[in-house]
Each structure stands twice: as structure tokens, then as C-alpha cells.
């Protein structure tokens, strides 16, 4: 059975709300092609059955999968570049001034997917610091075991390196391996990947100086958002920095954060005494 108009409209609204991307009428085939693998994973034979089950009883995991399937083929490098610009322009100089020369900076990429975000951070720091590998440790976590393994391998397809990775950085930090590109051993040493479910109690990690928690909160209800932010805050240094997705904020969710505008993006810092 092909996708019904009701199902298509619901997916269209969801994607517009979560990503600001508009699916034009006539893109039913795209929705079907992208969602069929997810429907099959859930043991369903057609996309309408899958969409209807999520529409009637939405859950964060399924809605996130739907939005991701329709918004990206591959995760982009430097996705919404501003939070990365902020890291090198403001956050890093401030942390270097506040920490001792032998203190290792700890950075957490909390929904690291196939690894583009933690390696983007690693490349920026490697270009900015003379001895990045000994000064910085990057923790990459994701819900999916497959994604964690991919991050550890540090290998990306041709189509993936085409997605928003500046060519000078590609040639500086990657080598070709068959039909793929492999990130340098130096950067792989900076990144430690592990599985982690943000909506459950977190393992002992950190304390982190910087946390990237982007495009995760949007998929959860208010109480879950609050408990995630609380748990993340417990793993951060008191003068740490939190980056959320462009469509996300702590405002109206958890008032123990201070919003700091850096260029075109915002960071959130734990409020003292909150």
C-alpha cells in the first residue's frame, strides 16, 4: 500500500517542526523510500502502518528516526557551523586561560552519530593547539552500538566526506583507504567512543569543560528534557559550556542555566548556586 495523504501530512508537519525543512507535495516517494528500512526493522511491511503507529502513539526514538531519515542522507560535518566557530573563537581561549598547562580539557559529544561531530571538534582543536592530542580528550557517545563502532573506526564514505567538510581539512586530516576516507590516527587517539542512553542514568564520566548536546532534546517531552539537562549538568565543570541545537534552548525547560550569546550562536553555562 502506498503512503496515505494523512500519513504524508503528519510526516511533513513533524519534519517541518523539528528541522525547518519543508517536504514539497509530490515527495511521497521520498518518504516511502527513506522510511521503509525503519519500518522493516520494526517488523512492519509498509510505511503507512509504521507512520500510523507512531502518529497514534509517538515515541522519541521513532520520531527521531523519521526526522533523521528525511533530513539527512549523511550527517554533515560542521553541521550548523556556528557552535564550532564559537568553540575556537571564545570557549577555547577562555578555558586555556582558566586551566593549568597540564590540565586536560574534556569535551563531550553527546549524540555523536557516525562520528562527524567529535571529529569536527578534534580537527578544530588540532588546528588550534600545538599539542592537542595531549591537551584534549573528546568523549563521543551514542545510543546505537553500530554508530559507536563506526566512530571508533573513523572511516567515512565518499558521499559522507562530501557533506560539509572543508576540502583543506579533508586533505590535512584524512587519507584514502580503498573507496573510503580514514581520519588520521592522531585524531582517532583524541576521540573515545562509547554507548550511552541519555534518558537513563549516565555512567561516570567527565567532568566536562564543553558539552555538545545538539538536536536531541527536541525529541523528548518536558520532564525527560529536564532530567537529561540535570544529568548533563552534574557531569560538567562549574564554568563549563553547553551547546544545544539551533532549534533548542534551556529557557522554559530548566532555569539553572545562563544563556551566553557568542556570535550567531548561543551557549549555556551552569548558573552559580542554582
Amino acid at each position: 500500500m502506498s503512503l496515505t495523504a494523512t500519513s504524508f501530512d503528519w510526516v511533513r508537519d513533524l519534519v517541518r517542526k523539528e528541522s525547518a525543512i519543508v517536504l514539497q507535495p509530490g515527495k511521497e516517494y521520498l518518504v516511502e523510500a527513506r522510511l521503509l528500512p525503519i519500518a522493516r526493522q520494526m517488523g512492519l511491511t509498509d510505511v503507512t502502518k509504521f507512520v500510523e503507529s507512531v502518529r497514534v502513539r509517538p515515541d522519541a526514538d521513532s520520531t527521531r528516526k523519521i526526522v533523521e531519515a528525511l533530513t539527512t542522507n549523511e550527517t554533515s560535518w560542521f553541521r550548523d557551523g556556528d557552535p564550532f566557530t564559537a568553540l575556537t573563537s571564545t570557549v577555547l581561549p577562555s578555558l586555556l586561560a582558566a586551566r593549568g598547562a597540564n590540565e586536560r580539557l574534556q569535551i563531550w559529544s553527546a549524540a555523536s552519530s557516525s562520528g562527524q561531530e567529535p571529529y569536527t571538534i578534534a580537527m578544530l582543536l588540532d588546528d588550534a593547539l600545538p599539542n592537542a592530542a595531549s591537551r584534549v580528550s573528546i568523549t563521543a557517545t551514542d545510543l546505537s552500538r553500530e554508530m559507536v563502532q563506526r566512530t571508533r573506526a573513523g572511516r567515512f564514505s565518499q558521499l559522507e566526506v562530501n557533506r560539509g567538510l572543508p576540502a583543506p581539512m579533508l586533505v590535512r586530516h584524512f587519507t584514502r583507504a580503498g573507496n573510503e576516507w580514514e581520519v588520521s590516527a592522531n585524531l582517532r587517539r583524541m576521540v573515545n567512543a562509547s554507548e550511552c542512553n541519555l534518558s537513563a542514568p549516565l555512567p561516570r564520566m567527565g567532568p566536562f569543560d564543553v558539552v555538545y548536546l545538539r538536536n536531541v532534546l527536541i525529541y523528548f517531552d518536558l520532564p525527560t528534557k529536564q532530567s537529561i539537562l540535570r544529568r548533563v549538568r552534574d557531569l560538567m565543570r562549574p564554568d563549563g559550556w553547553l551547546f544545544l541545537g539551533a532549534a533548542e534552548t534551556t529557557l522554559g525547560v530548566d532555569d539553572s542555566w545562563e544563556r551566553v550569546v557568542i556570535g550567531r550562536s548561543s551557549a549555556y553555562r551552569p548558573l552559580k548556586g542554582a
Binding site: 539527512t72 560542521f78 565518499q158 558521499l159 562530501n162 560539509g164 572543508p166 576540502a167 584524512f174 587519507t175
Partner: protein
């Protein structure tokens, strides 16, 4: 904004032109580097040139070098779009003066991401 699409394959010219037109670009095309220089010599200066590597008459790398040698054309952003995909080839193109590099095969999303990096993308883009 204006773009000059340079590729000896007319299919590829149509595809890249279609993508850029969708982003609001005014597009002209050329089937090799020499024909592209003729367009520039007319005084039609684009913000962006997308450049294939292997073409008859004048290849993409030669085109990039000629453009780089002319200060009047310095404002033009040059993006290679080619199936040449060795590490060394990308280094050569950047050294010659190309600003960005897209490896064929590419998707419209890949072009969009690169234009965003280069600050050459209009704000609102529909999927």
C-alpha cells in the same frame, strides 16, 4: 547571485545548473575551460564557478590557474566538481587556487553544504 557551471558533460551541466537555479542562482555554462574564459572575458563575472577537471581544450586545473593569475577575477569562488578523487589531486587543485572541492558522485545536499561553508547559500532552502 551568479554561477558559471563548467563541465564537458551536458548532462552534468544540466544537473548542476538545476541545483544552483533551485538555490536562486542565475547560471551560465561552458563546456570547457577555454569557453568559460570567454564568458569571463565578456565581463560576465560570477560569484561562483563549479569546475570539472577532465575536459577537452582546457581542463579545470588550467582554468583555475589562469583565473588565479588575473586580479580582476579574484572575487570569484572556485569549486571543483569532479570524479578525480585522490588525496594528491585535491591537494593540487587547492594549491592551484581552487577554494573548495566536491567529489563526483555528489548529491544536491553536498552542494548545499559546501555553499553554506562558503557563505554562498541563500537562507531558506526547501528539500
Amino acid at each position: 547571485m551568479r554561477a558559471l557551471v563548467i563541465d564537458d558533460s551536458r548532462a552534468m551541466r544540466r544537473i548542476v545548473t538545476g541545483i544552483l537555479t533551485g538555490f536562486g542562482y542565475e547560471v551560465r555554462d561552458a563546456e570547457h575551460g577555454r569557453a568559460a574564459l570567454d564568458v569571463l572575458d565578456e565581463g560576465w563575472l560570477p560569484d561562483l564557478a563549479t569546475i570539472d577537471w577532465n575536459m577537452p581544450v582546457m581542463d579545470g586545473l588550467q582554468f583555475v590557474s589562469v583565473v588565479r593569475a588575473n586580479p580582476a577575477w579574484r572575487a570569484m569562488t572556485m569549486m571543483m566538481v569532479t570524479s578525480e578523487s585522490e588525496h594528491t589531486q585535491i591537494v593540487r587543485a587547492l594549491a592551484a587556487g581552487a577554494h573548495e572541492y566536491v567529489i563526483k558522485p555528489f548529491t544536491a545536499d553536498a552542494i548545499r553544504d559546501k555553499l553554506a561553508l562558503l557563505g554562498l547559500l541563500p537562507q531558506e532552502v526547501a528539500l
